[in-house]
Amino acid sequence: MKQSKKWIKGMVLAFMAAIFMFSGSMSWAEDGTIKLGVAGAHSGDLASYGIPSVNAAKLVVKEINANGGVLGKQVELLVEDDACKPEIATNTATKLVSQGVNVVMGHICSGATKAALGIYKDSNIICMSPSATNPALTQSGDYPNFYRTIASDDAQAKLDVDFALNVLKLNKIAVIHDKGDYGKGFAEFAKKFLEESGKAEVVLYEGITPGAVDYSAVVQKIKRSDAQAVIFGGYHPEASKIVTQMRKKRMDTIFISDDGVKDDTFIKVAGEYAQGVYASGPKDSSKNPLNIKAVNAHKEEFKSDPGAFYENAYSAVLAILNAIEKAGSTDYAAVSKALKTEWVETPIGKIKFDERGDAIGAGFSVYQVKDGKYAEVK
Amino acid sequence: MEPVLEVNSLTMDFGGLRAIDQLNLRVMPSEIVALIGPNGAGKTTFFNCITGIYTPSAGDIFLSVNGRRERLNGLKPNRVTQKGIARTFQNIRLFQNMTVLENVMIGRHCRTSSGILGAIFRDRRTRLEEEKVVSDSYKILEKIGLDRFVNELAMNLPYGAQRRLEIARALATEPFLLLLDEPAAGMNQKETQELDELIVNIRDTENISILLIEHDMKLVMRISDRIYVVDYGKKIARGNPLEIQRNPAVIKAYLGEDPDA
């Protein structure tokens, strides 16, 4: 018995020694470029949320490299797909780390981002997402290496709820979500804020199945609940179906939603029924010269309008590279400090980051569809 | 002496169709009984009722073994097999992608007991049991004359050998009563002859009673102690081969119409 215990101990020790010895030798030689990882969904059903960020990174890097790069070094892009799946995201992250990335712009979905962040954290790599809005990412304190150029779900929910209560003065509201990470997170906060305010009653709180062919039953339920408004957490495909069906049933219930709905496709799909819908989104920066430049660059290079999170991704890349430039190196601590202290001009405005990693200066505002366009509600 | 199998007024309805009507049947120990009748007379249905694949609509089925008499109605097929009735199938139902030996080893399943833990840890008891299963199965194959095919897949056997394998597999369950469903179907003269000897041999050496369905009248007349004739689910005659051959009802209903069948 004793013999065998000793034997096991010896094995474990030898084993650990082997791991330590070999892993020590696995550091990466610096070479002449700054490696920027871009990770997100580039394939599968959520590809449309990830591909614009790749385009943004390509355009920014192309321009910066043409102007001499960062710190005299060229920026090299390493683009990796995670299909928005946590399990693939860890592979993506380890691949990027193994390839020696200095910083990462991504991931797109909150779940995938959470799975990947642990790996970046242990490898001292800064990660900035253009689109992961889950509050815990910055608020839990678990991910000091995380930054984002988009406001978190709770900030957005607060804005929408305040708008409904104070501007529209509503007191009966239905909260609907798409059961997804983003939509349900948003809806939970909206419900919480509504209940805390004491000014309005949540008459209905339900999740719908994304991708279903129609939502008539839920629409009927909204009608029966006598809600004055619907606050919807989710994306535009479901939102347009709900809005269209509500209007076809001659309901004039106000529809308030989130950034996932503030998309031109929503207006195109819902057509005339989109009129009057409110959606929150990043502060209007379409007059910002940098934004105009970014959008034009996309049109020129890819012959199409940029998609979702394009400006956020563009800004993220600019912010990261600016911080490296200001820090004078890709050193983790120095870049972190630069991100938190140095203001940078981006398509979404002049931003820097707070202690938790949320962007300061990248605010949200509420928009309303007017004549086939989103217009900011002043 | 008590009959091994005693079936009293067994009835089986499918919807409105009465497949078996008030059938009585007895098989005595070490007896070979044949069940004959035209196609669609309900013979295979009768087998299915006995072996628990169908639950009969009415009637009783009793099995008497070593002085214990048990009612079999409503038992699941595997329980019936465990009680000591084994069968073969009219349309061969071997485990096609298993070897000949494995087919027989499956038959030993209900007479062995090692479980999951035994399988994983292969303790002494399981090992011994497994060895015994292999050697027992091999002995059965030798007896049936299939030992040269041991490691062949069942699907690759010649037709006659497949029929014999079905019998071997059934024997492996250590039955007191063996039900053979058209064992000679599709066999040539020589094969039938061999089968004939095999069946008698099984009865003589193992003390197994045999109930068989068969269309080959020569075989039936040669080996049967008694014969039951059914038509439209009803028994129309019963007796020894000679009596049956002379029975006018049988000749009319069956032999008369198709004497070669």
């Binding site: 449309s48 339900e206 719908i208 039953a217 339920k221 495909p237 347009s240 179906k241 496709t265 | -």
Partner: protein
Amino acid sequence: MDWEYFLELLLGGLTRGSIYALIALGYTMVYGIIELINFAHGEIYMIGAFTALIVASVLNYAGMNHVAVAILAMVAAIIYSCAYGFAIEKIAYKPLRNAPRLSALISAIGMSLFLQNYVLLAQTPDFLPFPSLIPDFDFWEPYAHIISSQEIAILATTVSVMILLTVMIKFTIIGKAMRATAQDRIMAALVGVDINRVISVTFVVGSATAAIGGVLIASHVGQINFYIGFIAGIKAFVAAVLGGIGSIPGAVLGSLVLGWTESFFTGYISSDYEDVFAFLFLVLILIFRPSGILGRSETQKV
């Protein structure tokens, strides 16, 4: 009891059910003949919708009138879906006719993946607005909030497709050949049925129903992307099994039952667990009727 609410849910469930039915019909036909869960069926539906969208856009661009556009788009969708169905069978299923059934299933899954990504790459990962090919008729306007003209079109199409298919299978020569093939493929071949032709025709007809469904549903929903086929396909398959797979009226009945189940569950309880309930319902039905509502209960030959 709130009767108006009940009626609305009933109508909503009816529409949803007919949508499932249009896809489920093709599933059930193919399954009836070759006992294959044709995973790629949903993709054919998606390709039908895409073809219609492309053709409609091009014709609209060329300035053709609305009715002509709608008809031509529908015809193009049917032609192309049939062509795809035909080609898929020849490539992915025919070589596997004598292989284990699971191999054919995996092949179907591969085909489904391929087609999704093919459309994703050739077209776009985004949702595209789909023009409303069926106009909202003015005379129907007063009742449109109860049931829209598009919903009526879907209902009517479902019923007529079901009747047409039933007639075809019951009374035409090819229908008889189909039934024979479904019963026993080898025997059918022995009595002179051209099995390859029957299977091809089945795929083509199944694909045509998928295309009709694709165009109508896309026009009702107003948007499509490459992934719609998969989601709708799963539900339609559940509906087909619920009704008794292989049975044409069963597919429609199963779809309606599923549509109503979801609608009423959402209406009276909660849409959070809508799908959970739909699946539980399926399990319950199958436990008590293992071959679906209208399925022939297999008596096993022993």
